[in-house]
């Protein structure tokens, strides 16, 4: 009974923890401009993250080593350092975006400008990580993130033209008034939002810290195969509600404050309250995860002690890295840069940095030295190779598209 509870908890937190500020903003924006014509990208992205999360979880369970640990071993100190700098840069950018997202969520509820909330949020976040409370609160944030189901509820209550929505899904092209380059740019952005590197670092590091073994593989796979697709459905629900309410009247979502409006229309005040709670939980949880991931990548590269269960005295360098990252994030956000703009850049740069993260995972998951007889099967390798090609194409296209569309216009 306790085991079933544990498994269910894992799946539920995987669903609730899937969506972060990048998914929220990008899906809301895409839904309002392209409807569900980019839904296939979300599906592709979810399959990709399932594939690579399973691989890195398996690597953590069988070899006892986390992803970035092994990146340096396989690539050597020089290339590994370049990989570290790039991955860390992207994760740091995502961290800044998440903190900004938390501040925005509080702004919507209080009408006090987000810039004023940034130091408060950062301080709370840092205290949670310093006092090792995230280890305890992780499940709480995951479950509260399930509040975002209100998007699916709102969609149902808005009584949309389901046939019309399905028509959008099966017509993967830009609507009149939108260009193919903008369509491609947002495809890249959605893909980057679904496959953010920090998810894999966090997942595998958590697995190592919790001492997963071969016995835990079944639970891990259940979390990944059930939790992530349902989380992806939540992302699609965000896109669908903005498609139903904003697309017909030509509103292009450019602020987080517009995202609860379709919920208000479908469900009313209670829906808005639940949605805001969901925004807060999803972004704060993701902020903790990205902050820890910045620390994980550096600590694992240099061989330092790390962990969300480890007190600062025992892992001083790791915690100082997190502290410095938090200070940097506050400094950037205090320049009053728009957190939504930061989010959009973070997903595109995530797409750019994808090959760095995923190629080593694919290689390591095939290595009998680490994996024994649990190396990738044929299906995993075929899918992995296909995705590698997709990832390289997406990565190569990211910057040119960003320049051509001037950031998605």
């Amino acid at each position: 009974m306790k085991k079933i509870f544990g498994v269910a908890l894992g799946i539920l937190t995987a669903i609730g923890g899937f969506v972060d500020i990048g998914d929220l903003v990008t899906n809301a924006l895409v839904g309002s401009r392209f409807g569900l014509a980019l839904a296939w990208v979300v599906v592709l992205g979810v399959i990709g993250i399932i594939l690579f999360a399973e691989m890195s979880g398996r690597v953590a369970a069988i070899s006892g080593r986390a992803t970035f640990d092994l990146v340096r071993e396989r690539l050597g100190p020089r290339v590994g350092l370049a990989n570290l700098v790039a991955s860390m840069g992207v994760t740091l950018l995502t961290f800044i975006a998440e903190i900004g997202g938390v501040a925005l969520a509080i702004e919507i509820a209080t009408s006090v400008n987000e810039v004023l909330w940034v130091p408060v949020v950062a301080a709370a976040l840092w205290i949670v990580l310093w006092r090792v409370r995230f280890a305890v609160l992780e499940n709480v944030f995951g479950l509260l993130g399930l509040s975002l189901i209100v998007f699916a509820v709102a969609l149902w209550k808005l009584d949309p033209d389901w046939g019309g929505l399905w028509q959008q899904v099966t017509t993967p092209r830009p609507r009149p008034g939108e260009t193919w380059t903008a369509y491609a740019y947002y495809a890249v952005a959605l893909f980057g939002a679904a496959l953010t590197p920090y998810e894999v670092f966090f997942f595998s590091s958590g697995g190592v810290e919790e001492r997963w073994t071969a016995k835990d593989l079944g639970t891990m796979r259940l979390n990944v195969f059930l939790g992530f697709p349902l989380g992806g459905l939540l992302s699609l629900a965000v896109a669908a509600v903005t498609a139903v309410v904003f697309l017909p009247v030509g509103v292009q979502v450019d602020a987080l404050s517009q995202v609860p409006l379709p919920i208000a229309q479908g469900v009313g005040k209670i829906g808005v309250a639940i949605a805001l709670l969901g925004f807060f939980a999803a972004t704060f949880g993701a902020a903790c995860e990205t902050g820890l991931s910045v620390g994980y990548s550096i600590a694992q590269f240099f061989g330092w002690r790390w962990g969300k269960f480890v007190a600062p005295r025992q892992a001083a360098r790791f915690h100082v890295v997190i502290l410095l990252s938090t200070v940097l994030a506050v400094a950037v956000l205090l320049t009053t840069v728009d957190p939504v703009a930061v989010t959009e850049y973070s997903v595109v740069f995530s797409a750019l940095a994808l090959p760095l993260t995923y190629l080593p995972i694919l290689v390591i998951a095939n290595d009998p030295d680490y994996m024994g007889d649990r190396v990738n099967g044929r299906l995993a390798n075929v899918l992995g190779s296909v995705f590698l090609v997709v990832i390289v194409v997406v990565s190569a296209a990211a910057i040119p598209l960003m320049i051509i569309t001037r950031g998605g216009q």
Binding site: W304, R317, H319
Partner: protein, 286 residues
């Protein structure tokens, strides 16, 4: 979900760490995580110290860790700066990188397992965790709430540094050791003066006990760059796409058994060998 906190038993998945008969030093030892008796991360293997035995064979003498060791492998300006900064921060005039004796290694699995605990290691090697201790003392400790109440404060070095730990290592002449990194990338020259590629890796045989491993052969490659993720060395597995890429970029891996090595000029980065055999399945990949 597992309970937080430390565990006394091994992290290497309920099995005592062991040794295999054969290792490729670059592939299996360099950049590997070093953990202590309890599985706590200590450092990365930044370099290896090879020392000549009485019979002329090279044995693994020690693991080298720290910026002083990794600087040489980073190469170029970055490597030089790393070493320069490290020298500046060390108080002694001519610092040597932290050298963990090979006899302290209890097994090599996906990590290099040391037999002593982290606390004992810190006592023996006072410079092992310099940055960590500095950060702890000046940044972490002043901030409240940084530790658990039941922490033992035994991490500070005692007044008499260098308490020797019991090891099985044979006594080697101090200073006779050479770094593996100066051998990797060395040019291989045949008797007629022809260039036969570069040393890509070093094959070690021996065990159990890291100090018993001797250099059995050199693995060479025509290209100067590293080992292409290890795919050149083993019965190639993995996604077809990666295999094709590796095959395209990495032909002509070579094998020089120890008896064919005439001379190693460490300072010039040059190895004279009688012959270079092609690397085939006769020389089984580890």
């Amino acid at each position: 979900m597992a309970e937080p906190g430390r565990r006394a038993d091994h992290e290497s998945h309920t099995r005592r760490p062991q040794f295999r008969r054969q290792y490729d030093a670059g592939l299996h030892l360099l950049d590997r995580q070093i953990v202590d008796r309890d599985g706590i991360p200590v450092a990365k293997v930044d370099d290896l110290e090879l020392a000549p035995r009485a019979d002329g064979r090279l044995v693994v003498a020690a693991l080298l860790v720290g910026p002083g060791a990794v600087g040489a492998r980073l190469g170029g300006r970055l490597g030089r700066w790393t070493v320069a900064i490290w020298r500046r921060l060390r108080s002694d005039a001519d610092p040597a990188p932290t050298r963990i004796d090979a006899g302290l290694v209890g097994g090599i699995e996906s990590a290099v397992h040391l037999r002593p605990s982290l606390v004992e290691l810190r006592r023996t090697y006072p410079h092992l965790d310099g940055l960590e201790r500095w950060m702890r003392r000046y940044v972490v400790d002043p901030i409240p709430g940084s530790g658990h109440a039941d922490d033992e404060r035994t991490d500070e070095p005692t007044t008499d540094p260098g308490i020797p730990l019991a090891t099985d290592a044979p006594v080697l002449p101090a200073g006779g050791g050479r770094r593996l990194s100066s051998l990797l990338g060395a040019r291989v020259v045949l008797p007629d003066g022809r260039d036969a590629g570069r040393v890509n890796d070093v094959r070690l045989t021996g065990g159990p006990g890291l100090q018993t491993y001797v250099v059995e052969a050199l693995v060479t490659a025509t290209r100067a760059e590293g080992s292409m993720l290890g795919y050149d060395r083993r019965a190639v597995r993995g996604p077809w796409l990666v295999r094709v890429l590796v095959a395209a970029t990495h032909r002509d891996a070579g094998y020089v058994p120890w008896r064919a090595v005439r001379l190693i000029d460490w300072d010039a980065g040059c190895v004279e060998a009688d012959r270079v055999d092609p690397l085939t399945d006769e020389h089984p990949a580890s």
